[in-house]
């Protein structure tokens, strides 16, 4: 029996094991939404297409399975660009389907037409324009394969309306064959041996682990490497959760707002082992002054990440998990040999702990985050927006489990928080999902509160309201002589309590440290979505801080 292109597309999504589709309908995608109406796929109607992409992105990050979003052509497709770029920078698996005008109208400036292939080319791992109804199944199969394998990323399928109306037999392919796409897997044993030799001789070794290890599902292997060798470990913001931060070997996060001891350890190391990390500038500080004494080992699935910004001495191109399995067989317990180094690090830890002021009865973001961490046993799935609250979340939540910190690390997309919490909650329905967001960041995608309310998605949205674009204000205070150009929100902020009420969402206000614990408990106990409006100190700064362009050990620490 012949099916329409739209039916074939939906059937293909079912074949791929998709359960949720995030999106919003419109003209060119109508036939496909009509087919969706008969499908067992669960559809989540968003309020803005950017939200749909963040939800799909977070679904992907929370599970490792590509999240799916589906929107119409033109403005809907262009609204996905921020979400696609966010997913691309952070290697999140995602498949985005956009409607397109009929193939015969492409290039004619038709209504709601945009050159989506051209616009999304630099922000997707790959994109497809479906020109023949007979290609749909192959393209969908390839799209999911490409999105989740190798270094994961977003794949876009642009789906013209006439192709969705054409008919063909449905025959879903079992295999994928793309000759230009190969996935490095095991890693070269000779290179792994070299890496092990370096590690076994190191006097001041340090592990630096990123999102690639999370994506690879390598938390057990990372743990084993640390346990076996005794080598201290720091993670990037996307690597948070790959290793329990309450473990004595944990140095917590490194980089611009990393701990002093993590940054000192990296700078003083003689062998740095980078695992699934890409030497982002927020991690390295001044590249030329990064890690000056170290031989660098780099394990990564993406050959293009090797020596991109920092030249490495030993590179292993492969999937982190199997590579670490081989490496773990070759490395030795180094605790005795590196004792002076571990003692030095312990001294740094004692001297420069993370801290915040807590004796003046002022509610601070750090307090809220640390308390939520405590009350959720550090086991919630946490999402954030971007800004001060994001860095404080990284510092203070206390991550324990992989795939528990979902944040826009690479692109730094404000507004990621609430929609990603919704996506994560649907992906992991039995877990507590908490979003920490700023008053500025949250307003970028606040419309998705309606989505959470309508589908009763029980996310806990903590708005840490300091009446500013806090990180911008911080930079202006420190580097622009307190000239707060465009960073004050103040009286222009809405009444978040009334807003929650308007959406039919439970709202809780927390103004003082005394209100904190009962407020959080009430929020966590509530079955539905909750907005917790936390009125926090307005002019606090995130410290430690390595100013942009400085070496990692040139730390400002005024907390």
């Amino acid at each position: 029996m012949k099916l329409t292109g739209a039916q074939i597309l939906i059937r293909s999504l079912e074949e791929e094991g998709v359960d949720y589709v995030f999106g919003l309908p419109g003209g060119a995608i109508l036939p496909t939404f009509d087919a969706l109406y008969d499908s067992k796929l669960k559809f989540i109607l968003v309020r803005h297409e950017q939200g749909a992409t963040h939800m799909a992105d977070a679904y992907g990050r929370a599970t490792g399975k590509p999240g799916v979003c589906m929107v119409t052509s033109g403005p809907a497709a262009t609204n996905t660009v921020t979400g696609l770029a966010t997913a691309y920078m952070d290697s999140a698996p995602l498949v985005c389907i956009t409607g397109q005008v009929a193939t015969t109208a492409i290039g004619s400036d038709a209504f709601q037409e945009a050159d989506v292939m051209g616009i999304t080319r630099p922000v997707t791992k790959h994109n497809y324009l479906v020109r023949d109804v007979n290609d749909i199944t192959r393209i969908v199969k390839e799209a999911f394969y490409i999105a989740r394998t190798g270094r994961p990323g977003p794949v876009l399928i642009d789906f013209p309306v006439d192709v969705s109306r054409a008919t063909a037999e449905f025959d879903y392919p079992k295999d994928v064959s793309i000759r230009g796409y190969t996935i490095p897997s095991e890693g070269d044993p000779a290179a792994i041996k070299k890496a092990a030799d370096l590690i076994n001789q190191a006097k001041r070794p340090c592990l630096y682990v990123g999102g690639g290890a999370v994506g690879s599902g390598a938390h057990k292997e990372v743990f084993e490497l640390v346990e076996k060798t005794g080598i201290p470990i720091t993670t990037t913001v996307l690597g948070l959760g790959i290793f329990p931060e309450d473990h004595p070997s944990s140095l917590r996060m490194l980089g611009m707002h990393g701990t002093v001891y993590a940054n000192y350890s990296v700078q003083q190391s003689d062998v740095l082992i980078a695992v699934g990390a890409r030497f982002d500038d927020r991690v390295t500080g001044h590249v030329a002054k990064f890690c000056p004494h170290a031989k660098i080992v780099h394990i990564d699935i993406d050959p293009a990440s090797i020596s991109k910004t920092v030249r490495v001495d030993v590179s292993v191109v492969g999937d982190v998990k199997p590579v670490l399995r081989q490496l773990n067989k070759l490395v030795k317990d180094r605790r005795k040999e590196i004792k002076p180094w571990l003692d030095q690090i312990a001294e740094w830890k004692a001297k420069h702990p993370l801290k915040f002021k807590s004796n003046d009865n002022v509610l601070r973001q750090e307090m809220v985050i640390a308390k939520v961490g405590e009350l959720t046993k550090h086991e919630a799935v946490v999402t954030t927006g971007v800004g001060q609250h994001q860095m404080w979340t990284a510092q203070w939540y206390g991550f324990k489990a992989p795939r528990s910190m979902l944040t826009s690390g690479g692109l730094g997309t404000m507004g990621y928080g609430l929609p990603s919490a919704i996506g994560a909650q649907l992906a992991r329905p039995n877990e507590t999902v908490v979003c920490f967001d700023g008053d500025g960041s949250t307003q970028m995608t606040l419309c998705e509160m309606a989505t959470a309310a309508y589908y009763k998605i029980p996310v806990k949205l903590f708005i840490l309201d300091n009446s500013h674009h806090g990180m911008v204000r911080q930079w202006q205070e420190l580097f622009y002589r307190h000239r707060y150009s465009g960073s004050q929100l103040g009286a222009s902020n809405p009444d978040f309590m009334k807003l929650a009420d308007g959406y039919g969402v439970k709202a809780i206000k927390i103004r003082t440290p005394a209100e904190l614990e009962p407020g959080i408990k009430e929020a966590l106990a509530h079955k539905g979505p909750v907005l917790i409006h936390c009125v926090v100190a307005q002019e606090d700064n995130v410290f430690p801080m390595v100013p942009a362009g400085h070496a990692l050990d040139q730390v400002m620490d005024m907390a």
Partner: protein, 194 residues
């Protein structure tokens, strides 16, 4: 430093944009670019000449390799390679200087492809130095127009160098078979005569 990069790609629409986009995204100017089908109609070959820091070129080659539609990338720079370009030159050649111009044409084993009372159109093929030398000699006579195809290049070796291959892990036989025409393209004799 000048780099000559050969890229074997799927003969799909939009592939050229993906390839050139990688260069433009890094603010990297392409000196010349030539595209054409190989003996396999499903595979095109792009030859790109670009100036740049070795490290930037290394990064671009890795990024090219990551493109799904790219089958193979080779940096032919420093290789034992055959490179050719075809150039059409329209040069002033009134009766008074015509024989001198024709002598230059003969010296470079170029061809006259069009004649009128005022000018000659000349077709010349060769490597960069030959083309440059000939244009230099023709310049005093008055060059009216130059059209260049851009350089095409291939290695003299029977196969692409192993070290420059994609780190290929073949997924199945179909992929392996599909790889063959690409290798054949590299070993085929140059179409342009020396």
């Amino acid at each position: 430093m000048k780099h000559t990069i050969g890229v074997l790609v799927e003969n799909h629409f939009g592939v050229l944009a993906r390839v050139s986009g990688l260069f433009s995204a890094r603010g990297f100017n392409i000196d010349s670019l030539a595209v054409g089908e190989t003996e396999d109609e499903k595979v095109s070959r792009i030859t790109i000449v670009a100036h740049g820091d070795d490290r930037v070129v290394d990064q671009i080659m890795k990024q090219l390799n990551k493109l799904i539609d790219v089958i193979k990338v080779v940096n032919l720079t420093g290789e034992d390679m055959i490179d050719r370009e075809l150039v059409l030159v329209k040069v002033l050649a009134p009766a008074s200087t015509r024989s001198e111009v024709m002598q230059i044409v003969n010296t470079f084993r170029a061809k006259i492809v069009d004649v009128n009372s005022k000018a000659l159109a000349i077709e010349v093929t060769g490597g960069e130095s030959k083309i440059d030398a000939m244009l230099e000699l023709l310049r005093p006579y008055g060059i009216l127009e130059v059209v260049r195809t851009g350089l095409i290049a291939m290695s003299r070796k029977a196969e692409l160098t192993a070290s420059q291959k994609n780190p290929v892990i073949e997924k199945d036989d179909t992929a392996l078979k599909a790889k063959k025409p690409a290798a054949a393209a590299a070993s085929k004799k140059p179409k342009v005569k020396v």
